[in-house]
Structures are given as structure tokens and as C-alpha cells.
């Protein structure tokens, strides 16, 4: 009975939303952001055999960091598993060395060179101009608007690739989970890939919970899990009852803290249910495996796009993990609300995310 009511309510809500959207005055300037800010150029339409393509991921850290670098490693591994190519990667590349790594692979005519991190922007741009035969993907990932558009160089064989609006999704879930109306999200460092998430949290929470107080800040470390745990404990003891973090291995300390205090946590960048099974309700992940598969196929099919190539929630840029039984443990209305908001965000019903 309750279920039926909930479904009915949800349907009504959707209709209501559509109706309101439909009735909205049309003469307002269109606020929706352009997805590709620079004209995407199609690369000659030349087709390639996916199994003969050469792909490499160039990483700033190690593939066991449970975060940013590991997800990229999994992307090339996914390509290797599906298309029978070699899963090639290089770790721990210093900013001053990146150009040299790129040069090596570009000279061997690699089809797809993934340069994983915005700190390598200058190297990627320089090398993309020098080696027009390779396709370069700079893993980037932040919102596109007027101010960021001119940060992108117009180079036909360079794409700035990444998921956006992950923070909105995380925030929306956090807003539903909280009982105390206090949620906290901790970034590791103020770097674009993390900052974009942090900046979306408030917006996401406000979608589902107008009363919740939202705190976002930075830990100042990507490795010190002990410090991160102590910091998280301090927040939880101050009444915050939903916590999530984006700080590579340090964020695991935050999940641990939630487990110890019995509050909710959201995993990030990998399915982190296993780290703290009594706290991690869901994990939200950059869907780089799907994103880079998409880019990979676009190269193979000759539909490659350069410039800002962002994957919104609608474009499946972000993935959400399995419930791991939490859908039975949580109060039903929360589960339904979370499922509902995820669906709506993916469908673009709550705004252009």
C-alpha cells in the first residue's frame, strides 16, 4: 500500500515538475550551458580497427591510490578487456617529466594518449600541437561556463575530458541521508578536479534538503589517512551526520571515522563499501571507464571531438555503486527518495546537470 502511494506520489511529482517547467516563461535567457564550448572538430572521418589501436594512460600517482589514478588505470584495463588491446600505463610522473613521456608515445604514433590531471595541461597542449597524429585526452572535469570556456585551447587533436556535476549528485544524496541537517564534504586539495566536486555539493544538497547546513573544506593531504580520520571525527562530534570526501587514500580515514561513530558516509571514486560496511551507504564514482570507452570508440569510428568534452550526469559521466543491502537497512522513504533523485538527475529533470 505504502509502496503504491510512494510511486503515485513520485509520478505526481514528476508531472508537477514537467508542468511547472512547461509553464515557465519562455522569454528568459537560456541559462543552460553549452556542452562543447569550442566547435568540436571531426577528425577526417578516418576509421580505425579498435583492436589495433594503441592506448596509454599517463598518471601522476600510483594505480593503487584508491582514487584518481586507480580509476584511470581501470579505464585502460576496461579497454584492454573489451577490445584486446594492451593496458598500458605509467605511474608517478612528475609535472616536469610529463612532456617527455608524451613525446615518447606520440613518436610511436599511439592513437590515444590519456594525460591524467589538469596539472599537465601545459604539457598536453604543447605536445598535442607538435604531434597532430595522436589523439590526446587531458583528464579534466569541471563545469563549463563563460569563465572556463576560454581556458580551453582550440587544438584539433586535444580533448579536455571529464565528468561534471558529480558534486550535485553527492550533495543530493547527502541531503536526503541527514537526520541532523548537517552534512560535510572534505576535499583533499584545492585542485580543479576536486574543487569542481566541492563546488557542486551545496547546490546538490539544496535540491533535496533546503534546511541542511552544508560544510565543505579541504584536508590539505591526499595521503595522511590518520589525520583525515581525526578531522572527520571532529566534524562528526560536532553533529555532522553525513560525511563524504575526495582525497585519494586519505579519504578512507573519513569513512573509517563514520564507521566508528555510526553515521552515514558516501564512498567516492571507487566502490568503497568494503572499507566501512556499516557506514558507506553508496559510492559515487567518476565513470572514467565508460567515458574513455566512449572517447576510444569515437576515435575508432572517426567521430572524435576536440575541446571541452564533458560528461554530465545525463551523459552517464558519473556512476553510483550497488546498495550492498543498504536499501533494506535504511528507512524506506530515504531509499525511495535517493533512487528518485538519482533517476531525476540522470534524466535531467532537476536542472541541466
Amino acid at each position: 500500500m505504502k509502496k503504491c502511494l510512494a510511486v503515485l506520489l513520485a509520478v505526481l511529482l514528476v508531472f508537477g515538475a514537467v508542468a511547472i517547467a512547461g509553464c515557465a516563461p519562455k522569454d528568459q535567457p537560456d541559462a543552460s550551458k553549452p556542452k562543447e564550448t569550442k566547435a568540436g572538430e571531426v577528425d577526417g572521418g578516418e576509421k580505425k580497427d579498435p583492436s589495433k589501436m594503441k592506448v596509454v594512460a599517463l598518471l601522476s600517482g600510483v594505480i593503487t591510490d584508491n582514487g584518481w589514478n586507480q580509476i584511470c588505470y581501470e579505464s585502460v584495463k576496461n579497454l584492454a578487456d573489451k577490445y584486446g588491446i594492451a593496458a598500458e600505463y605509467n605511474e608517478n610522473i612528475a609535472v616536469s617529466d610529463m612532456a617527455e613521456y608524451i613525446r615518447t608515445y606520440a613518436e610511436e604514433k599511439y592513437d590515444m594518449i590519456i594525460v591524467h590531471g589538469s596539472q599537465f595541461k601545459a604539457s598536453a597542449e604543447e605536445m598535442a600541437r607538435k604531434y597532430p597524429d595522436s589523439h590526446f585526452c587531458l583528464s579534466y572535469g569541471f563545469r563549463v561556463d563563460e569563465s572556463t570556456a576560454d581556458q580551453v585551447e582550440d587544438i584539433p587533436n586535444l580533448a579536455y575530458v571529464g565528468p561534471v556535476n558529480m558534486g550535485v549528485l553527492i550533495g543530493a544524496i547527502m541531503g536526503i541521508l541527514t537526520d541532523n541537517n548537517k552534512v560535510v564534504f572534505l576535499g583533499g586539495q584545492d585542485i580543479p578536479a576536486i574543487t569542481d566536486i566541492v563546488s557542486g555539493i551545496k547546490e546538490g544538497v539544496s535540491l533535496t534538503n533546503k534546511d541542511a547546513a552544508v560544510m565543505t573544506d579541504y584536508l590539505g593531504t591526499l595521503t595522511d589517512a590518520d589525520l583525515a580520520k581525526e578531522r572527520a571525527l571532529a566534524f562528526i562530534d560536532d553533529g555532522y551526520d553525513v560525511i563524504s570526501a575526495s582525497a585519494n587514500t586519505a579519504q578512507l580515514g573519513c569513512l573509517h571515522a563514520a564507521e566508528e561513530r555510526g553515521v552515514y558516509a558516501l564512498g567516492f571514486n571507487g566502490d568503497q563499501y568494503g572499507v566501512a560496511p556499516n557506514a558507506v551507504v553508496l559510492s559515487v564514482m567518476r565513470n572514467y571507464p565508460a567515458i574513455y570507452e566512449d572517447v576510444f570508440l569515437s576515435i575508432a569510428e572517426g567521430t572524435w571531438k576536440s575541446g571541452m568534452v564533458v560528461y554530465t550526469l545525463k551523459d552517464n559521466g558519473t556512476s553510483v555503486s550497488d546498495w550492498h543491502g543498504w536499501d533494506k537497512k535504511l528507512p524506506k522513504e530515504k531509499v525511495d527518495a535517493i533512487n528518485d533523485v538519482i533517476q531525476k538527475l540522470y534524466k535531467g529533470e532537476l536542472g541541466d546537470y
Binding site: 600510483v62 593503487t64 581525526e230 568494503g274
Partner: protein
């Protein structure tokens, strides 16, 4: 009452965070009193943190993890002793190389032992051991008597070490080696053996601090997780005037810097996080400038001793 409770909570956190630094400091102290200056505590703690997880994983007990960590520490200590005592190499250079080795070797071995997994390998870890009655004391009860066993060990080591160094014959011998090895030698003390023992046992104590980082508060190893605590321990020894109790106070003051960072961030006062990160380090320098001139280092600290 609420305020007192909050202060009790800060104290609790402070003591727990201070434990690894205290252990590392006590280990360094033993070496310093034998005349050896080892800046390699950071690397030793890292390799120990990994060994603790490996031991706990393979033998299923966190105490076996601690044992393996201390063994790894002993190996690093032996390496340091061979190079600096027998071969009289520059102690700072060897210590710096030990730090490089600890970081790179722990990263490499972590990969070899646990492979590339999305989920970290979780192992048995230390549990809180509440001491009956005492832990019910208001305000300080939880802080002092509801900690993990290794925290008690760290703090109990303070009087033990003090007694050993300043009240026993072997302790006196150790200190005389650090003060003046030539005189110690003529008195019939085996200088090299004393220095070897001090380095190996000291490194094992440092390693216990590393083990606490991975299997105390957490139950997994992550790369570079020691994050500067080995260096803070170095400063704690000087700040603590080469006395165990002093090191304890120093470790607690430095870690209070982290507690302050926590409090400031939770309060949302808007200080850029980069400045919060600096607090413990700036505190260390300030403490050094105040106390360094008054600290009396062992006279032969850092100088290699040559017999005959």
C-alpha cells in the same frame, strides 16, 4: 560541564595522535643518547606501517603485525648501525637515504604483496581497551583510560625509559657512550656494541609508532601515510630536552596543533587550509627556537667514534 567534556574530548584526541610521535621520539632518544643522530625515522615508520599490515594480514593478529613491524624496524636499524657505527659514514646522509628507501620500498612491496585492488586490504587492528572504573572518571577518564593498548604502551614507556636511562647501570653506560665514547671505552664499555643495540632497539620502538599509524586508528596501509611524523619526532626529542617526559609533552603539544586545526576547520572560521597544514610545523620551529638553546644534547651526538 559541557565545556569540560569538550576539553576532555580534545585531550583524548591529542593523546591518541601523540602516541606514534611519542614512540618515534623515544626510539630516537635511545639512539641520541648513544651518540647517533638518525633522521631516518620517517622511512623506518613507513616500512613498519606496511609490515604491520602484512603481519596482521598473514597471521590474523594485530600483535603479530606489531612484531613484524618491529622486525622490519630492526633491519633498518641494523643497516643504519653498520653504515654509521662500523663504517663511520655521515649519519645525516644515511638517515636521508633510509627515508628514501622506506618510502619507495613500502610502495613497491605494497604492490607486490597486495596487488592492485579497488578495495584496500583490511586487517585486524587494535581495539580500544577500557580500563574499568578509571575510565569512568569525569573529563579525563576517557582520555587516559579508554585508549588502545599500544597507546598505553607508548605512555608507559616514558617512565620505563626514564628509569632505564637515568637509574640503571646499562643506562648510565649508554649515556656515557653518547657523552664521551673515548672515556667510555677506557672504562671498559663496548662502545660499538652499545651503539648497535641502541640503534636496533630504538628503531624497533620507532617501528611500533609506524605500526600504530596503519593498524591503530586504521586497518590498512596507504602510500606515504606517515606524512612527516618522523620529522616531528626529531624535533620532539630536542624540544623535550632529551628526556622521555619532555618528549611526551612535546609530542602532545605538536599534536595539539592538529587538534587546533580540526577545531578551527569545524568552526568554519575560513582560514585557508594550506595555513592549517602549516600549523604543526610552525609550532615545531617556534618550540625549537624557544627550547633549543636550553636543551643539552649528548656531547658526542652525530660524531662518529673511531677506536684506538
Amino acid at each position: 560541564m559541557d565545556l569540560l567534556q569538550t576539553i576532555g574530548g580534545y585531550l583524548f584526541t591529542d593523546i591518541r595522535m601523540a602516541a606514534p610521535v611519542l614512540l618515534a621520539g623515544l626510539g630516537l632518544l635511545l639512539m641520541n643518547w648513544s651518540g647517533l643522530l638518525n633522521i631516518g625515522a620517517e622511512g623506518t615508520m613507513l616500512i613498519a606501517a606496511l609490515a604491520a599490515v602484512a603481519g596482521s594480514h598473514y597471521f590474523g593478529s594485530v600483535w603479530m603485525g606489531l612484531l613484524l613491524a618491529m622486525l622490519a624496524g630492526a633491519v633498518f636499524g641494523l643497516l643504519f648501525a653498520v653504515l654509521t657505527v662500523t663504517l663511520r659514514a655521515n649519519q645525516t646522509v644515511v638517515g636521508a637515504a633510509i627515508n628514501i628507501l622506506g618510502l619507495s620500498l613500502s610502495t613497491t612491496l605494497n604492490r607486490v604483496l597486495f596487488g592492485v585492488e579497488t578495495t584496500v586490504t583490511k586487517v585486524d587492528s587494535f581495539k580500544v581497551l577500557e580500563i574499568p572504573l578509571l575510565s569512568k572518571i569525569p573529563v579525563i577518564g576517557q582520555a587516559f583510560f579508554a585508549q588502545m593498548p599500544i597507546v598505553y604502551i607508548a605512555f608507559l614507556l616514558v617512565p620505563v625509559m626514564h628509569y632505564f636511562l637515568f637509574k640503571t647501570k646499562p643506562g648510565l653506560n649508554l649515556r656515557s657512550v653518547g657523552e664521551n665514547p673515548r672515556v667510555a671505552d677506557t672504562l671498559g664499555i663496548n662502545v660499538y656494541r652499545t651503539q648497535y643495540l641502541a640503534t636496533i632497539i630504538g628503531s624497533m620502538i620507532i617501528a611500533a609508532g609506524g605500526a600504530f599509524l596503519s593498524t591503530g586508528l586504521l586497518n590498512f596501509f596507504t602510500e606515504d601515510m606517515v606524512a612527516g611524523r618522523g620529522y616531528i619526532a626529531l624535533a620532539a626529542v630536542i624540544f623535550g630536552k632529551y628526556k622521555p617526559a619532555g618528549i611526551m609533552i612535546a609530542a602532545m603539544i605538536f599534536m595539539a596543533g592538529n587538534v587546533v586545526s580540526n577545531v578551527l576547520q569545524v568552526a568554519g572560521v575560513g582560514i585557508p587550509y594550506t595555513f592549517l597544514t602549516m600549523i604543526p610545523y610552525i609550532l615545531t620551529i617556534v618550540a625549537l627556537t624557544i627550547f633549543a638553546s636550553r636543551a643539552v644534547a649528548p656531547a658526542s651526538l652525530g660524531k662518529p667514534y673511531k677506536r684506538g
